[in-house]
């Protein structure tokens, strides 16, 4: 049973986020070890295993990046253990610019609002990438999967960048 089947939804990048949490709750009620508290050790063990799967499936399905990565893995492309690097030079240049901006942001007159605008810019890029990703994953064109994999690699950089911005924000707004 793959994660989509477990959640009783079609194998697709497009997931109805209003239904997913409800299904999750329903699966929790069926599989949580507490529901087997008076059962035998074996019942509890089976519940722990199934429930772990439910938790993992939910965390994979609810985030678009991990969902896309999982979809590709179902199609035989494993991005988890790869060593491949990005060779899109335009993207790499942009990355470097952003990183420099972040490193020097404390020297700005208003570092917090500078951070905010950087965050906004990256969020916009992520949004655009996710739309591209959706189109690629739903298309039948040649190389769609290869191109989707490239976008996923870029998105990983972007999300990492976002968490670094958050860390910086924490440092700057400490009270």
């Amino acid at each position: 049973m793959n994660y989509f089947e477990l959640f009783n939804i079609p194998v697709s990048f497009d997931v109805d986020m209003s239904v997913l949490p409800k299904t999750y709750q329903q699966l929790q009620r069926l599989t949580h070890p507490d529901k087997f508290a008076s059962g035998s050790e074996q019942d509890k063990l089976v519940a722990i295993q199934k429930n772990s799967q439910v938790n993992d499936a939910y965390s994979v399905l609810k985030s678009p990046l991990s969902r896309a990565e999982y979809l590709l893995s179902l199609r035989g492309i494993d991005l988890q253990h790869e060593q491949k690097t990005i060779n899109n030079s335009a993207f790499l240049m942009q990355q470097m610019e952003w990183r420099e901006e972040l490193a020097e942001i404390t020297e700005q007159a208003d570092p917090l609002s500078a951070l905010e605008s950087l965050e906004h810019e990256i969020n916009q890029t992520i949004k655009a990438d996710l739309i591209k990703l959706q189109n690629l994953l739903e298309s039948n064109q040649v190389d769609a999967e290869k191109n989707a994999a490239d976008i996923i690699r870029e998105l990983k950089f972007l999300y990492k960048m976002l968490s670094e911005i958050e860390l910086k924000e924490d440092l700057l707004s400490d009270f």
Binding site: A37, S40, Q42, D43, D56
Partner: protein, 620 residues
């Protein structure tokens, strides 16, 4: 045709009889036990009407005193009176002495905290077990029957070693642990927030020695912890320590305080702290070791200036937890206050200011956790089969392994909902290598030395191959109690590698068994009887559940031959369970488990399938 089961008189419970289960708050300063009686969860008092049991254990040469009576002797007999032992669970002596430099205890070595007391040596698990035993005794006397199980609470921020220590202590006290429950979750349950309310709630828990902040989402009886944070070494005791230092400076006492004077000042500091919840200043009077009298006035302003940095630290953790949950302050609909230290007015005010709403304080902050735990225990033991309450907790600290150069590689991220299972692959780096060491750590920092060392595993029995050819899959399984289990397998050959667990600070299974033996007054006999009874109870459980499952789903999910095999196993088990050979019963249970494993999995999948098909019918 199903046969009627006829039990021997007195051996089977009447169908409507309630099973006794309790909730236990094993606190740093005080501990409590609560139970649901006539539909209401109440804390249980001792024979003198006292609900709080001070978490203090005094060891005399041939007896043990627990609670209030022990607490009263803490100043006069500091080395034999163990106070706030919870701070030592799952910790090394080095950690403990760094955090609490003025402890009066004599640690026997520099690694695990074994203390020398009048009756010999004791460790934190044994001291905690004494407190649990006392509560168990109180519950059995009040409720008039044997306990079927207990929910024991732990701070959400407790790591694996601290949780394991708590569970070991319960085992040592002869309690069946239904679940280790996070204190904030228990508090949310106690407020009955499940009834109708939906939304985000924050639980701010400042106890004697620990601080937790948890962000929960409530929806239709499901309490889902979204994020948790805090500090397992920050609490009201730190307020006291700051006050002691303040008093010491004001009274110009130079150098290290004697153990007994330190204890006297600690008691005075606690009095001052409590008084300052209601008045603007407090006078501390005491005599030093030379008999000289001192009088120090502590004003509310002094006190608040002293503790403000600590309160700010807690708010920083609140902000971080909200961030982890990806929520704004304004989305929080309720703030629940837990722990005696939330009685300090500055704490309540600052928390209220931070969340911009008045915190909930209607349930006694000392009792709220035990009450919530009792409600959960009542459900888990099976007294409320129709309850739809479900508590989903998270892993408080990331789990990782040591990689080259002393770096940590995270295997499971913090705030992941538990139970959770993650696998990691390793390979050999030498030709013919047959063993490999894995160092498991818990924490957020990049360097292994900055994280908490949980255990070192040695994988033996890897088939000899060329370097890099063996693929060892190590699975980290965290259960609903937040406890880690590790298993390993070489993929190409399917060889199961054996794992030797060497807990870094906790106790090994054999040590627990030894302590259990030592704790039995009549040694061997009792121990054997208890272990036999445990196996018989489990055997009965297996028989009953499995027969029920076979009757319900056997024909639909299994071949006739499979049903026959399982039934034969059950028959054999029930024969053996009548005897007294506990090892044979255990082996028969394992045999039946093996026979029915696939069946159990199929039933689980079946229940999911039928739930979904029911739903699609509803939709039409």
């Amino acid at each position: 045709m199903a046969l009627l089961q006829i039990s021997e008189p007195g051996q089977s419970a009447a169908p409507h009889q309630r099973k006794l289960a309790v909730g236990i708050d094993l606190g740093t300063t005080n501990s409590l036990v609560a139970s649901v009686r006539s539909g209401e969860a109440l804390t249980l008092a001792d024979s003198q009407g006292r609900h709080l049991l001070p978490s203090v254990v005094r060891y005399l040469a041939d007896s043990v005193v627990i609670g209030q009576e022990a607490k009263q002797q803490a100043s006069s007999d500091p080395t034999n009176t163990i106070v706030s032992v919870k701070r030592f669970l799952g910790r090394s002596v080095q950690d403990i002495e760094a955090a609490y430099p003025n402890l009066p205890y004599q640690f026997t070595n520099s690694l695990s905290p074994v203390m020398t007391v009048a009756s010999g040596n004791v460790n934190p698990v044994q001291v905690s077990a004494q407190i649990l035993k006392e509560l168990k005794k109180r519950a059995q006397q009040t409720l008039g029957d044997e306990l079927q199980g207990a929910v024991v609470t732990v701070p959400a921020y407790f790591d694996d070693a601290q949780r394991q220590g708590t569970k070991d202590a319960a085992a040592l006290a002869g309690l069946k642990v239904l679940r280790l429950l996070n204190e904030p979750t228990a508090a949310a349950v106690a407020y009955g927030l499940d009834s109708g309310q939906e939304g985000i709630i924050a639980v701010y828990d400042l106890g004697g020695g620990t601080f937790d902040i948890s962000i929960l989402r409530l929806s239709k009886g499901v309490f889902e912890v979204l994020a948790t944070g805090g500090d397992s070494a920050l609490g009201g005791d730190d307020f006291d320590a700051l006050l002691v230092e303040f008093i010491r400076q004001k009274s110009e006492l130079i150098g290290t305080l004697s153990k007994s004077l330190h204890r006297v000042l600690l008691d005075k500091a606690k009095e001052a702290k409590e008084a300052l919840s209601e008045q603007r200043s407090y006078n501390v009077d005491f005599e030093d070791d030379t008999g000289k009298h001192h009088s120090v006035t502590v004003s509310l302003e002094h006190f608040e200036t002293l503790i403000e940095p600590l309160v700010k630290n807690t708010l920083r953790a609140c902000r971080r937890a909200l961030k982890d949950a990806q929520l704004q302050k304004s989305q929080v609909i309720e703030v629940v206050m837990v722990g005696g230290s939330t009685r300090v007015p500055l704490v309540c005010k600052q928390v209220g200011d931070f969340f911009e709403r008045t915190p909930l304080t209607s349930i006694d902050p000392d009792r709220v956790v035990a009450i919530g735990a009792a409600i959960q225990a009542d459900i888990l033991v099976g007294n409320k089969p129709d309850s739809d309450m479900l508590l989903l907790d998270v892993l408080p600290l990331s789990l990782g392994i040591e990689t080259m150069g002393g770096l940590t590689e995270k295997v499971i991220q913090r705030n992941t909902t538990i139970p959770v299972s993650k696998a990691q692959e390793f390979t050999t780096f030498k030709d013919g290598q047959t063993a490999m060491m894995v160092h498991v750590v818990q924490g957020e920092r990049e360097l292994v030395k900055d994280c908490r060392s949980l255990a070192k595993f040695t994988l033996h029995g890897i088939p000899p191959m060329a370097a890099g050819a063996a693929h060892i899959r190590v699975t980290f399984q965290v259960d609903a109690d937040g406890l880690l289990n590790v298993s390993a397998m070489e993929k190409s050959t399917g060889v199961q590698a054996q794992i030797q667990v060497k807990p870094s600070y906790g106790l090994e299974d054999s040590e627990i068994a030894d302590m259990l033996k030592a704790s039995m007054d009549n040694a061997q006999g009792d121990m054997q009887a208890r272990m036999l009874k445990e196996q018989q109870v489990e055997a009965a459980r297996v028989q009953e559940n499995l027969q029920g499952a076979l009757d319900a789903d056997g024909e639909a999910l299994l071949q006739p031959s499979e049903i026959q095999a399982i039934e034969a196993g059950i028959t054999k088990l029930s024969e053996l369970a009548k005897g007294t050979d506990k090892d044979a019963i255990k082996a028969a249970i394992e045999q039946v488990d093996k026979l029915s494993e696939t069946f159990a999995q199929k039933r689980m999948d079946q229940s999911i399938k039928s739930a979904f098909s029911g739903q699609s019918v509803d939709r039409i």
